[in-house]
């Protein structure tokens, strides 16, 4: 893999609240703000951090399924509605299921590397509470191969896919210890979310999180191996940041200490039509991580903070193995021992992750980059940890480990 031909930076990040069940102000019976509200809020919060919004050269909007959740297409043009400075400029929409955010980042990075732009705005957005979860499951099933899989698939298509992964993992590596680790993952996610006022689970006050996380799954109403607490949230939200060249940073009046550098990324896909080669491994994610670390020229031991795509607790455990933080089958031990906790060797999802912060699908990859940026530049406020090492690493994953971006950022 080639090293990046010139330095690229991420700066001026902003996330909105992840809105949905769990937030006190969320009332499903009332009319709620739509796509533009979240796009506008995130974009304006980014542009407020720079000297001159006109310096934005291009924009990328990352969104998975607005065409179905919101009956809205032509999102590139909708992005220009967020700020007058965005009109009559090149904007593009990208899509890669729940890995959409990662693709948005990569698209912007490539534009800067191609020297077509010095400042590219990246926005991720998804507004999913327009439909009940039972109908949302149909929409999200579009991240799998719809034609061959939806009809025979489970009512809750993706929860069932990862329930199958959990079942396979239980059989191979032991159910009880894995179940306990899944509950520990949940407890860690909610504990972190309680420190992040933007998180959907910020208001969570459940006293015994592990006990809740251990709830017995109900296959009749949901899935065989996952309970509802194993799942990420149904969320409305947006995240945005600027991808800049060195010149871009200077023009915007942002110092190097206000930015993180893209040390390397890996972006790979696997065949959507085929079943994953091994249900107990995130094979594609592993390749993406290898790409990111390889391009950055670093070892995972140099990473001080992680953001992984914990769409389900079991996915979190599989992700720490894909990162190489634990050997195959040993992820549960690392998680149960607190290895991914705020004080652990590998602090992960410090703002709550998909389970604690929420999962506005198309926005999640951008949201991860924003939160890593916050940690690395010391702007994470309530969820700030002392990051002991210079790098942060994210995995933005789409579908059942099909479309994946991993990215290493350096402060």
């Amino acid at each position: 893999m080639k090293a990046l031909r010139k330095p690229v930076y991420l700066a001026a990040g902003a996330n909105t609240v992840s809105m949905g069940t769990g937030r006190k102000e969320f009332d499903p019976r009332k009319t709620r703000p739509g796509l533009e509200h979240y796009i506008n809020e995130a974009v304006r919060a980014v542009l407020a951090q720079v000297s001159n919004a006109d310096l934005v050269d291009e924009g990328v909007i990352a969104n998975f399924m607005a065409a179905r959740f919101n009956r809205q297409g032509n999102l590139a043009s909708l992005l220009a509605a967020a700020h007058p400075a965005l009109r009559y400029k090149p904007m593009v929409r990208v899509e890669g299921a729940c890995g959409t955010g990662g693709l948005g980042l990569v698209t912007a990075i490539k534009t800067v590397l191609a020297e077509l732009a010095d400042v590219v705005l990246v926005v991720g957005v998804e507004v999913q509470n327009t439909v009940k979860a039972v109908y949302g499951a149909d929409i999200l099933a579009g991240a799998g191969h719809y034609a061959s899989q939806r009809k025979g698939g489970h009512a809750y298509f993706f929860p069932a896919k990862f329930s199958d992964r959990a079942g396979a993992y239980f059989t191979r590596y032991g159910g009880e210890r894995t179940r306990k680790a899944m509950a520990a993952w949940y407890a860690n996610a909610i504990g972190n979310a309680r420190l992040n006022p933007l998180a959907q689970e910020y208001h969570n006050t459940t006293p015994d999180l592990v006990k809740v996380g251990m709830s017995k799954p109900n296959p009749e109403s949901f899935t065989e191996h996952l309970n509802l607490f194993d799942c990420s949230k149904v969320s409305d939200g947006a995240a945005a940041l600027l991808v800049c060249s060195e010149e871009g940073l200077a023009k915007l009046g942002l110092g190097r200490d206000a930015a993180v550098q893209v040390a390397g990324y890996g972006q790979v896909v696997d065949d959507l039509v085929q079943a994953p080669p091994d249900l107990t491994t995130l094979t594609t994610s592993r390749k993406a991580v290898e790409g990111a670390l390889g391009q950055a020229g670093i070892d995972v031991s140099e990473v001080g903070v992680f953001e992984v795509h914990d769409c389900f607790t079991i996915t979190g455990i599989l992700a720490v193995e894909a990162l190489g933080l634990a050997q195959p089958g040993e992820g549960p031990d690392l998680v149960s021992a607190g290895g991914i906790g705020r004080g652990g060797a590998y602090p992960t999802n410090t703002s709550g992750g998909l389970i604690g912060y929420g999962h506005p699908t198309g926005a999640s990859g951008v949201r991860m980059a924003v939160d890593l940026w916050k940690q690395l530049v010391g702007r994470a406020e309530g969820f700030q940890i002392p990051v002991a090492k210079p790098y942060g690493l994210l995995i933005s994953m789409g579908g059942d480990d099909r479309t994946v971006v991993s990215m290493a950022l350096r402060r």
Binding site: V134, Y135, D138, A155, P219, E220
Partner: protein
């Protein structure tokens, strides 16, 4: 004829009422699932009531509820629709199921619609003459093999059977309000009853997910036999207290104690409002007519009705004003028959005086809602009531008197032979009235 066969043609008379609409929903969904599993059969559910308005409201209710059922049972629907290549998404299957539920429903205003029914449910108003009139007509209209299940809560079934000429073919099948939610069916088997009908009634309960509690054919059965006496005790307490503390204060106090001190879902007067003050009076009069019980009467209930204060619910399920005026389902004012107006609760005024008079609640962490799903419910109730027993506040005194009266009413039902066992009374109160515990207990 097996239950499955009888379900192919079912009628509900009085279908648009509160109980009738719930029973109609249970049957409509049952029939839709049966039709999905048995694609060759023809299924008809005839829903009969007296007004077009009521029947339209019923259809709207069925649609809305069928939608909720389909969303909740989506896993089951995906299995049932596995062979339908045209149905891929959850949303498509949910819409198809709602369509299926409505597909088998016929509505009408005449009893002729029940002509071909193999099974007829009756849920008309609790009036002897009305029910007898309906059953006599149905006896003419329907075939000789038709079975009848009557949702009667007080009128003896033997009496109805004899008066209508349906002996052997009719059974008391008393659902609880709301029928789609409450798990209880009180089963009253008259002297003459086809064993096939008894077996069918039991099988139907299993299919509908209901628990059957048998009651003997004595007016009011177990449910109303307890509820009427429980309500009259509350009214008696109001009459005893109101001389000292005032009427509205007494109503407020007794309702609050019967809810929050006894840990019930509703206070006694809210419950009477929920059922309807008119229905409460009607049940009392039915019971007096059929059993020697002159004490089953209340001047206060008669007075309220004379003044036009009736309680009950609107067709959309909202609570109408009765003992209380309601805002968002909660009592906010008490009707004072002397002044002929509602007296609003003044949180800093008379309501605060009632609170002071009752004394502190024995344990504010204990409530019907909090204990509903608690696995240690029994131990917690025991500890809670031992505090009630030891306290000398007025609230605890009223609670003890209330629990004792409730227990006495329950034991009397066993002594009268209405219930075979104390457990049956307890089951009716826990399953039909959503109480956390039965009245026959050793807590106090």
């Amino acid at each position: 004829m097996e239950l499955s066969e009888r379900l192919r043609n079912v009628a509900v008379v009085g279908a648009a009422g509160k109980m009738g609409s719930g029973i109609s929903l249970l049957l409509a969904e049952q029939i839709a699932f049966a039709a999905l599993e048995d694609k060759a059969g023809t299924y008809v559910l005839s829903l009969i009531d007296i007004s077009d308005e009521g029947l339209l409201g019923l259809l709207r209710y069925l649609r809305a509820q069928a939608l909720k059922t389909a969303e909740k049972q989506i896993n089951r629907l995906r299995r049932l629709y596995a062979d339908r290549a045209d149905l891929v998404e959850n949303g498509e299957m949910v819409a198809e199921f709602v369509h299926e539920v409505m597909l088998h429903v016929r509505t009408g205003k005449t009893l002729d619609l029940a002509k071909d029914a193999h099974l007829v449910f009756e849920a008309a108003f609790e009036k002897d003459e009305l029910k007898i009139d309906i059953f006599r007509k149905l006896a003419d209209v329907c075939g000789q093999s038709t079975f009848f299940l009557t949702n009667t809560s007080a009128i003896p079934i033997n009496f109805l059977a004899k008066e209508s000429g349906l002996e052997g073919r009719i059974l008391g099948y008393h659902f609880y309000n709301p029928p789609a939610v409450q798990k209880l069916v009180e089963l009253i088997t008259p002297t003459q009853c086809s064993p096939r009908l008894s077996a069918l009634a039991a099988e139907l309960a299993t299919r509908l997910g209901k628990t059957i509690v048998p009651a003997h054919d004595i007016a009011g059965f177990i449910g109303n036999g307890h509820f009427m006496r429980d309500g009259l005790h509350g009214i008696g307490e109001v009459e005893r207290l109101s001389g000292d503390v005032g009427f509205v204060q007494a109503v407020w106090a007794v309702d609050r104690v019967s809810r929050d001190w006894l840990l019930r879902p509703m206070g006694i007067f809210q419950l009477i409002d929920y059922v309807g003050i008119d229905v409460f009076q009607l049940i009392l009069s039915v019971m007096r007519r059929h059993i020697p019980a002159p004490e089953l009467h209340s001047d206060l209930i008669d007075l309220y009705l004379e003044l036009g204060v009736k309680g009950g619910q609107t067709s959309s399920g909202a609570q109408k004003d009765g003992f209380f005026r309601y805002e968002k389902g909660k009592p906010v004012a008490v009707y004072d028959p002397d002044r002929r107006q509602y007296v609003a609760c003044e949180p800093e005024g008379w309501c605060a005086q009632v609170e002071a008079m009752l004394g502190a609640h024995p344990d504010t962490t204990m409530s019907w809602k909090a204990l509903g799903r608690d696995r240690d419910k029994d131990a917690k109730l025991r500890a809670y009531f031992s505090r009630v027993k030891q306290s000398d506040t007025l609230g605890c005194d009223l609670a003890r008197r209330y629990a004792a009266a409730s227990r006495a009413a329950a034991e009397r039902l066993v002594a009268m032979g209405v219930a075979t066992r104390p457990e049956d009374v307890n089951s009716v109160l826990t399953l039909g009235f959503f109480h956390l515990y039965g009245p026959i207990n050793d807590y106090l």
